[in-house]
Point group: C2
Chain length 418, copies 2
């Protein structure tokens, strides 16, 4: 029986796939994604069975509802996943273009060649779909990927793993270019995160604890968001029906996600009429309200907000509500409690809309649109591998372009430095 490979050996083995990936055409890389889509369809029964075992285990371990919602696959979600892979395959090749090309006065020709980042480690918790999507996006953009699935999703991920290899090999590429690791201990994960000579990027997807752990121990650059504490500010003179629809959609469409609404800020002027309206609609949807003292009279059934209800990611059917004097107070609240993730305003006033867009420091700032739309698909990126709340490299949703970089390519005729 062959000796079990060490983690650095596995990572080195995956890295060996990089030259072949880098040299491959966009067509070949698309073939991998289309092959994977077909394999997922063909193996749907097996995948759903493994996933049901994961869900059963999660329920036994009393995981939060929101986590189980993230974990569970269904035939409908599988169909969506497969369609997503085909859409990603159909997107333009993110590699090979020369950008900002110019001939300088010296005659030197300079451009930036779009290239893959290299080897990406994707560390996730409960999202089995994200494992396949991340692998597809990494491969489409010429990167190799190592997936470290959470134990919650281990059985599902283990069924996916050989499908990656099969899709790659069918296209003539090294099967190890997308490798799923077994469940790692904390020490194993730390070892993975220390391999800065091999890994070019780490993307963690999951709860705040996982992400803080990765961020704290990684010697490799990390793109991440800790949490999404998203606000909607209902401006003076805003359309109440639009504000109501946006609030309900942002809160209840899928409360376990990072772009779900956590705090509603309402201009004092609008509170007496708008709050009873939105309060009733939210209660009807089973949402609990934690209200600031001043909003309480307009929100029957609300409980008084504790200080830590602001700046909190409820990950479930609960919403903090606060009345503010004006846009400035809303901006100050968001500056203090926001998480640089997603912030929105509903307003009819063009000037205040622009002030909000300009002054709010977040990866995605929206006017008259649901916070739930901060998603690579909804914003036209075609696909998304995560949302970044740090400003380096990517800020906001990350698509294929964010999995690439450029190098300077220069051509001269014996040019020297003076």
């Amino acid at each position: 029986m062959p000796k079990k490979k060490s983690l650095p050996e596995i990572v080195a083995h995956v890295a060996q796939a990089l030259p072949a990936l880098g040299a491959s055409s966009g067509q070949i890389r698309n073939q991998v994604l289309l092959g994977l889509a077909e394999l997922l369809e063909r193996s749907q029964k097996e995948i759903l069975e493994a996933n049901q075992a994961d869900v059963k285990e999660a329920k036994k371990n009393k995981l939060a509802e929101a986590l189980i919602d993230r974990l569970a696959l269904s035939e409908a979600r599988m169909t969506q996943l497969v369609a997503g892979l085909r859409e990603t395959a159909a997107l333009p090749d993110p590699l090979g273009a020369i950008e900002d090309f110019k001939t300088l006065p010296s005659g030197l020709m300079v451009g930036r060649l779009r290239i893959p980042l290299g080897l990406i480690a994707f560390i996730c918790e409960a999202r089995p779909g994200a494992v396949a999507e991340a692998a597809a996006m990494a491969l489409k953009s010429g990167n190799a990927i190592i997936v470290k699935p959470g134990k919650e999703v281990l059985k599902t991920a283990q069924v996916l793993s050989p499908l990656f290899a099969e899709a790659l090999e069918s296209a003539g590429l090294p099967g190890q270019a997308a490798t799923v690791l077994p469940d790692l201990s904390h020490e194993g994960l730390k070892e993975l995160l220390s391999l800065s000579d091999r890994l070019d990027l780490v993307i963690p997807r999951g709860g705040e604890n996982l992400i803080r752990f990765v961020d704290e121990h990684s010697k490799v650059p990390v793109l991440k968001h800790f949490k999404g504490v998203c606000h909607l500010y209902v401006d003076e003179g805003a359309d109440h029906q639009m504000a109501l629809d946006l609030t309900v959609n942002a809160k209840v469409n899928r409360p376990g996600t990072c772009n779900a609404l956590e705090c509603l800020l309402v201009h004092r002027q609008e509170a007496p009429k708008f709050l009873p309206l939105v309060g009733a609609a939210l209660v009807a949807q089973g949402v609990k309200i934690a209200s600031s003292a001043e909003s309480m009279p307009y929100l029957p059934g609300a409980t008084k907000a504790k200080p830590d209800d602001f700046g909190r990611e409820f990950l479930g059917p609960k919403l903090a509500v606060k009345t503010v004097d004006n846009l400035d107070e809303a901006l100050a609240h968001i500056r203090q409690y926001g998480s640089r993730h997603t912030e929105a305003i509903v307003t009819k006033d063009q000037k205040r809309a622009l002030t909000f867009l300009k002054n709010v420091d977040a990866g995605c700032v929206l006017v008259n649109a649901s916070t739930r739309l901060n998603d690579g698909g909804c914003l036209g990126l075609g696909a998304e591998i995560g949302i970044s709340t740090t400003k380096l490299h990517a800020y906001g949703p990350m698509g294929l372009k964010e999995l690439t970089t450029t190098k300077f390519v220069v051509s001269g005729d014996g040019h020297l430095r003076n």
Copy 2:
């Protein structure tokens, strides 16, 4: 007497300048740079005196020649520095443009607004000019900057510091937006690097030890290169005169810099004629040669290279030379010993030039041009704050654009997520 501020207090104070900087027009920010240029001219005598004291101290402490070369200002370098600030002021405003704007089929309007990164910490060793250039580039791009100068350059930096404040205040901006710290102990530097809630980016500039220290201890994203181990490959059939000129320029133009040549790779076919030519020219320039066994017969006066002469940054008048069988061997050598900084080929063959450009993994890859040209100014960026050898956010020389990021701005008409 007021209590001395703690490091977090100083950093928080600098961060308070961010909203005013973010809201300022490009014209106002240019005014800061032009004011600073004028103040540098007016204070030239004082600056040069402080610098001479730094140089005297450095000589007393027996710093390496290359470091003293980096440290020393002269009237000529001051003139160059001031001209550089005015050129930077004249560059287009890197902020405020909306990129990739599109109206999606849903009617949602999406764009990416170019914004500053925020608060940058610039940690440097021996370059006084770089302190002024970094401050100018940070302010031009709407960022605040904290400079931690090395003790080698402390006296010079302390003369520059009040000039930054004066230039900012004259333009109506907060004077603390560019703050020079006093010399910090290692513990103090570690404390600075831990302030990830306040700092958005750390840029270290200096020797490999400094950069490794910063990289190891920083909780803030770091853009850096450890060292520049730059190669020039002389291809089969290359023009010998061009190859000679490029080699000599890349090695002797300024050997203490990161884009200076450290290793010459010569195709076996060209070795018998080219090596004696280049050997004589280098010896005439006082360059010592560490040669592979096979090149030795063609390089009178060369010493035999030790294994660690390859992959080494000499930072002085020494060059490693090696004969290779073909382009593949050159590529393999660069893969093993290069530092992802600057790599060059001299060739007449278009196909091999493209193979080299495509396959070499470095921030800047050049054909028929000196490695010394890997510099923001020479490559048309207008100004440079450093060179990155990591692929995240920036790869290669970093100009004004690399000190900015984008956020998604979205405008809808009550758009919801399905």
